[in-house]
């Protein structure tokens, strides 16, 4: 093997090795950080059992918001058409959080209730995030899901 070929071979091997390491790391990082969006009825049917953290999406049940008197602990119930899931969160809720608002909470299950580390409530009450609407529609095929259809609105804000 002449020196030029040898050098080229080394370069090719190095590039391949770097590519392998890079894709390995990427797949690893992706697997660790993929969050699935599930609705209460999907969680109740056991679909969440495989995930440590996931995102819970649905509507805040009317009148379910309970604030603790002496701390920032809040409990509320997230519902979809035929499921309900109690959620516990400690901290400051987003500006748009209120009854009948669609929310997405990130967190994990603790026995029968969901402990949220982050709660997002976006946009106005006629708007439901498209992905949440889809997830809810998928959870109960054929049932109509309430919510606005103007998906453009959501991302216009920034």
């Amino acid at each position: 093997m002449n020196p030029t070929r040898k050098r080229r071979l080394i370069i090719v091997v190095l590039v391949l090795a770097a590519a392998a390491v890079a894709s390995g790391l990427t797949v690893f990082a992706l697997q660790q950080n993929m969050n699935y969006l599930l609705t209460p009825s999907q969680v109740q049917s056991g679909e969440a059992s495989g995930y440590k953290t996931f995102r819970l999406g649905g509507m805040v049940k009317q009148g379910s918001i309970q604030k603790a008197g002496d701390s920032l602990k809040v409990t509320f119930t997230v519902i979809d058409a035929n499921g309900a899931m109690p959620v516990e969160y400690t901290g400051i809720l987003p500006d748009l959080f209120r009854d009948n608002q669609s929310v997405i909470a990130t967190g994990h299950m603790d026995n029968a209730h969901f402990v949220a580390t982050e709660v997002l409530a976006k946009h106005d009450e006629t708007y439901m995030p498209q992905e949440l609407k889809d997830a809810m529609a998928k959870a109960h095929e054929g049932k109509k899901v309430a919510g606005g259809d103007d998906a453009m609105k959501g991302t216009d804000s920034r």
Binding site: A29, L30, Q32, M34, N35, R55, L72, D95, Q130, A151
Partner: protein, 660 residues
């Protein structure tokens, strides 16, 4: 009547853009000078009509013309005039018009400042810019007309999204568009070079200052956006790896690679094909960014359903631009490729490694940002990719860049010497370790903070060593040409940025607390006393304003007024209060009253202590200044008359090498 005039102006602009793109391209191909000469006047005409359309939309906002649907949606009678102007780019249709407007600003600048380049080459550049304008004008006219009427005319309009009612937000979109659109010049330049089948170093030199200016604008835009997220969103964070942020960050990463690759191409003639490829990528990502942010593609592919024509148009446009330019690249790149070989230890190699890291980082961000779409397409369920994915991989990819940074300026073109590098590594390394040891005492063993200090000192000392070397070795007046000064400033800025990021990330204190009037909470060395909430109001909002006094060692440092505003359409918006400082920010955001019926009682509050956070934006500003300064270098202005440039380019290039 005026809205119709605006639309008419856009139609005329579209026709002129067609003339600006097709006629000169044909002329350049056929060797017809008359057709080539159409480029400049057509560009000027297009710019004039786009300016008219833009001015008419501003005018419609200023005089509350709610018969225009876009105006009615995004403004109302109570909105102050400066936010009514900002509302022009507050939503999709107006942003697209702003995009075209800025594209015309750049096109005019190119037309005016390129008199010394070969006429055919300039005609091709202007023609490519014209083609981009055709795409955008058609998009506006066929799918997102800002002048669409709303009849009957409502008495009052809606409102500009309250999060956009902030001075930072007024400037952020135009500045970031200056960056996005600026890359179109580098793109047009590359396509013109591919079409012509030749790439002269003199042309690359001309293109460099344009790319640097675009990059500097994009940097400024990202800094402004990050600052706005920090000050306005009330979460105290400065970067969330949110799709919208990623959209602007990807072109920045590729752009950073591009300005370095262009330097190699201009000075050495190497990496030509790579430079061209990077400019195609930088612009494609800018396009993708524009559409991702403004068109809701990312919420879901199904968002297209809300206006399928828009989605389809965007897909086709991206396909034509990216696919077409890559096809042209595949066909023609071998013709323009070439250049000198370089040794493994050389400035070229160092820049190439950095380039690789930046492009891989951009690809990584792209994958993470589009992954929800991929998951959706393959029915994997509703997935989002969490910030740790980006944080982990990005840190990993940037470590080599930070490590290599001090060596860059010291390395010679072609072949570097190991001895000098070892000396630099030793000095910068000693500095970094010493400062890290001192820092370790203050930061209570926080590894991230120690690493931050070490990395920052490594970059800063490395850069300053080079400043000193130039000072010692070069005669006065020739020590720091603008191009080099810009580079040093930007590299130094990275050090400042690292201090800001790693120290604020590791040492910040956040407390979510419940506070009744008179309560005191301590965060770090600071005591925050809550003095109650009173009602207040602004031109188009009413709100609650809290008063928080910050006390340290019995002395009142600041009185802060966080607000919770309710805008005319009942949108609620948190206005946080910030007490800025050189080494720390104090930050207070108002949550909700614990008991909604008793706003005078206890409130949920968020208190932050953020050390050195200002440094990260300062670092960004250093980089921006570096970009502008480098672009101002006299060397980038083409001096000779075009006809002789072919002959002169080569000897000039060799002369540069001996100097460098």
């Amino acid at each position: 009547m005026t809205p119709e005039l605006g639309q008419l102006a856009l139609v005329l602009a579209l026709l002129l853009a067609l003339a600006q793109s097709i006629v000169p391209l044909l002329g350049a191909w056929r060797g017809n000078r008359a057709m080539v000469a159409v480029a400049r006047p057509a560009a000027a005409g297009q710019a004039a009509f786009v300016l008219v359309a833009f001015a008419l939309l501003v005018w419609a906002f200023l005089r509350f013309d709610f018969s225009v649907a876009y105006v009615a949606d995004n403004s109302n009678l109570a909105l102050p005039w400066y936010y009514r102007i900002a509302a022009v780019w507050g939503a999709h249709e107006g942003s697209m018009l702003l995009w075209v407007f800025i594209l015309n600003v750049w096109t005019l600048a190119v037309a005016a400042l390129s008199r010394n380049l070969p006429e055919v080459f300039v005609a091709r550049v202007l023609a490519v810019l014209g083609l981009i304008a055709v795409g955008f004008l058609a998009f506006i006219l066929f799918t997102s007309n800002p002048f669409a009427r709303l009849l009957p005319m409502p008495l009052d309009g809606g409102d500009l999204n309250p999060v956009l009612q902030d001075p930072g937000m007024t400037f952020h979109p135009p500045v970031i568009y200056m960056g996005y659109v600026g890359f179109s010049v580098a793109f047009a330049f590359s396509i013109a070079a591919l079409l012509g089948g030749e790439l002269e170093q003199a042309w690359v030199r001309w293109a460099r200052s344009w790319t640097n200016v675009a990059w500097a604008f994009l940097t400024a835009g990202i800094v402004a956006g990050s600052w706005w997220a920090y000050a306005e969103l009330g979460w105290g964070g400065w970067w969330f790896w949110d799709p919208v942020e990623n959209a602007s960050f990807m072109p920045w990463l590729v752009g950073t690679a591009l300005i370095h690759a262009q330097a190699v191409t201009e000075k050495r003639g190497s990496l030509r094909a790579w430079t061209i490829l990077l400019s195609i990528f930088a612009f494609s990502l800018s396009l993708l960014g524009t559409f991702l942010v403004r068109s809701g593609v990312l919420t879901s592919v199904h968002a297209f359903a809300s206006d399928p024509r828009r989605g389809l148009f965007i897909l086709c446009f991206l396909l034509v631009v990216v696919g077409g330019s890559l096809l042209l690249y595949a066909l023609r790149a071998p013709k323009v490729a070439g250049g000198k070989a370089f040794a493994p230890v050389s400035r070229e190699s160092a820049i190439l490694v950095g380039n690789l890291m930046f492009t891989v980082a951009a690809a990584m961000v792209l994958l993470g940002t589009l992954f929800p779409l991929i998951g959706d397409a393959f029915n994997l369920g509703r997935i989002s990719v969490g910030p740790p994915y980006f944080g982990f991989l990005f840190t990993l990819l940037m470590v080599p860049v930070v490590l290599l940074l001090p060596f860059g300026p010291f390395l010679r073109w072609g072949r570097g010497e190991g001895g000098v590098l070892r000396a630099i590594a030793l000095r910068a390394g000693i500095g970094a370790v010493a400062c890290a040891l001192v820092a370790a005492v203050f930061v209570h063993g926080q590894l991230k903070a120690i690493a931050g200090v070490a990395a920052a000192v490594w970059c800063a000392v490395g850069t300053l060593l080079y400043v000193y070397k130039r000072f010692r070795e070069m005669p006065r007046g020739r020590r720091y040409p603008a191009e080099m000064g810009g580079m040093l400033l930007a590299h130094f800025g990275l050090g400042v940025f690292l201090v800001g990021v790693l120290l604020s990330e590791s040492l910040s204190v956040t407390r979510d607390v419940r506070m009744a009037p008179g309560d005191v909470q301590t965060v770090g060395a600071y005591a925050f006393r809550f003095d109650g909430v009173k009602q207040t109001s602004g031109p188009n909002w009413r709100g609650s304003q809290g008063t928080v006094s910050v006390i340290r060692n019995g002395e009142t440092l600041a009185v802060m007024h966080p607000q919770k505003r309710t805008y005319t359409r009942e949108q609620v918006q948190t206005e946080s209060a910030i007490d800025p400082g050189f080494t720390r920010d104090l930050y207070v955001a108002l949550g909700d009253p614990m008991d909604a019926s008793n706003p005078a009682g206890a409130w949920a509050m968020r208190l932050y202590y953020k050390p050195f956070i200002r440094w990260l934006w300062a670092g960004g500003l250093f980089m921006m200044l570096g970009g502008f300064l480098a672009a101002a270098d006299r060397r980038f202005r083409v001096r000779r008359k075009s006809e002789s440039s072919e002959a002169a380019a080569l000897p000039l290039a060799t002369a540069r090498e001996s100097r460098a």
